[in-house]
């Protein structure tokens, strides 16, 4: 097991290093992408701040609390962008035949497909987000350490759930060689996680908790920190992630088993 992990860590470090070198070579392009990501973050943050110049609360949440939801969404989303970026090119990897090479390499094809492309620009964007999370923490009343622990664990749980979604999308690419847009639908639906799930109507809230669990990924951690999430919901969140991870891995293996090579 240790040798397996060491091997994959080495492969990941090598591919991550190559990705970083490519981004450093592509200076103007990388700068443009980085600036764009910063603009998106700052504009939305400015929007939330500006809204609270005119109102006291939104769906019962104050500015600091709304900022916490928004920033938690960004933390989960950016970590996923940093580590699971490979899925965005999954269809191309399959149709151009590169996936055949992944299969003959002594390394997990899932790791190669999902995790081998690291977006360092998102690491740079994550730094101000984490700083802002720290500022929000400082403005909250004194909380027990268990709340922070629950926040941390549920944020990691959210990332694991996002990973499961990415694995399913990668599996779809292997099985169908199509559905290029599946990951973009996820991105657009994920937009709904920018706001606390309480702003949505009941059926939408239900769908975001049990159907496409964006709420579990982004709203639950912030709610746990604010003391608004019961232990039963926390259990549900961890159980859902466990089930989703198990299903996604089974689905991936099944897709690989049926794969018959799509290119020479």
């Amino acid at each position: 097991m240790s040798a397996f992990l060491k091997l994959h860590a080495r492969v990941w470090l090598r591919t991550a290093s190559m990705a970083m070198q490519a981004q450093l070579t592509y200076r103007l392009g990388s700068f443009g992408f980085l600036l764009g990501k910063m603009i998106r973050l700052l504009f939305f943050f400015a929007f939330v701040m500006a809204v609270f110049n005119h109102v006291e609360t939104v769906a019962g949440y104050s500015l600091v609390e709304t900022a916490l939801f928004f920033l938690t969404f960004n933390v989960v989303d950016m970590i996923a962008q940093i580590f699971f970026r490979g899925v965005y090119g999954a269809r191309r990897t399959v149709t151009e035949g590169d996936f055949d090479f992944y299969l003959v390499q002594p390394c997990s094809p899932l790791m190669r497909m999902v995790c081998s492309s690291v977006d360092f620009l998102d690491i740079l964007t994550l730094v101000p987000v984490l700083a802002m999370v720290g500022m929000v923490f400082a403005r909250l009343p004194a909380l027990e350490w268990t709340r922070y622990a629950a926040y941390g664990l549920l944020t990691l749980n959210g990332v694991a759930l996002v990973f499961a979604v990415h694995v399913i999308v990668a599996g779809l690419a292997v099985r169908t060689q199509e559905l290029e847009n599946a990951i973009w639908i996820y991105r657009d639906v994920m937009f709904m996680g920018k706001f606390p799930v309480d702003v949505y109507a009941k059926p939408v809230r239900w769908a975001l908790t049990f159907g496409v669990p964006i709420a579990v990924m982004t709203t639950f951690p912030a709610k746990a920190l604010l003391g608004l999430l019961s232990p039963a919901w926390m259990t549900y969140a961890f159980a859902l992630t466990g089930a989703a991870a198990a299903f996604s891995l089974w689905f991936w293996l099944d897709c690989v088993r049926r794969y018959t090579s799509s290119s020479s």
Binding site: L35, G36, A50, N181, I185, D188, F191, M192, V199, Y200
Partner: protein
């Protein structure tokens, strides 16, 4: 003119043929509308109005921006970047047609399908929402809105062409284009009405063509701009269009001179 009509017709058929891609595109856009709609709905709460927008007006703003996003923000910038970088643009340069005219015909086909789909989505949402929507009774408003939307769409098309033409000089123009598109969407009011922003930022933005692309047509639709003032602003919008067209064509001519058919 006939060749552009044929290009439009072929592109229309192609867009309609890729139904799953279209469906997924629309589904993602729909999620964003539901999200923004719910946020504004929660923000309004029991209040009769916010920043001078009544509930039906604010909800209509969200629905109108969905239509405008589909009609305005479907350019050919990324295709142009790809065609220049790969050298495929050479095959267009030797044909007896204007590249801009050809790209405009293809863009128009995409706009036709997306605008029709967005109208369907908006009608569905308008039927579902409880707060009601604002529909202008004066036919002149509809005419002014349509003119503003057409001009916005053309401004976006040529602005995107302008930024994408950087690909003639650098293979890294994707970054600046990404940054430009994100900035433009916020500065145009495609996520929230610009009234939310502080006065000095609003004044700064009003000196650019961006607010004319979504914010102005949406306000015309909501009859927030008197007709005489709307006509004057349409004149300003038309002037911006002329400036952008001239700049795009000038940069294009310079770009073609320095084009080395790399990769072609």
């Amino acid at each position: 003119m006939k060749k552009y009509r044929i290009a439009y017709s072929i592109a229309l058929q192609e867009t309609l043929q890729r139904r799953s891609t279209l469906l997924m595109d629309r589904l993602g856009g729909f999620a964003i509308v539901v999200s923004l709609y719910s946020f504004w709905n929660a923000l309004l709460g029991d209040k009769p109005s916010f920043l001078g927008y009544t509930r039906p007006e604010m909800l209509t703003y969200v629905l109108v921006i969905n239509v405008l996003r589909s009609f305005v923000f479907t350019g050919r910038g990324w295709q142009l970047v790809g065609e220049i970088s790969s050298g495929r643009i050479s095959s267009y340069l030797v044909r007896p047609l204007s590249y801009h005219g050809y790209a405009l015909a293809l863009d128009l086909a995409q706009k036709t399908v997306h605008a029709a789909s967005s109208l369907f989505e908006v009608s569905l949402l308008a039927w579902l929402v409880s707060g009601g929507v604002f529909l202008p009774r004066d036919p002149a408003t509809w005419i002014l809105f349509s003119c503003a939307a057409v001009l916005s769409s053309l401004i976006f098309f040529f602005l995107e062409m302008l930024v994408s033409s950087l690909a003639f000089w650098t293979s890294e123009s994707g970054g600046p284009l990404f940054c430009f598109e994100l900035f433009l969407q916020f500065a145009a009011g495609a996520f929230f009405p610009l009234d939310v922003l502080p006065e000095n930022i609003r004044r700064l933005l009003s000196a650019t063509p961006f607010p004319y692309m979504v914010f102005f047509p949406a306000r015309v639709f909501l009859e927030k701009v008197p007709h005489a003032e709307a006509l004057r602003l349409l004149g300003v919008e038309a002037a911006w269009l002329c400036v952008v067209i001239l700049a795009a064509l000038a940069l294009w001519r310079q770009g073609v001179k320095s084009y080395a058919a790399e990769g072609g």
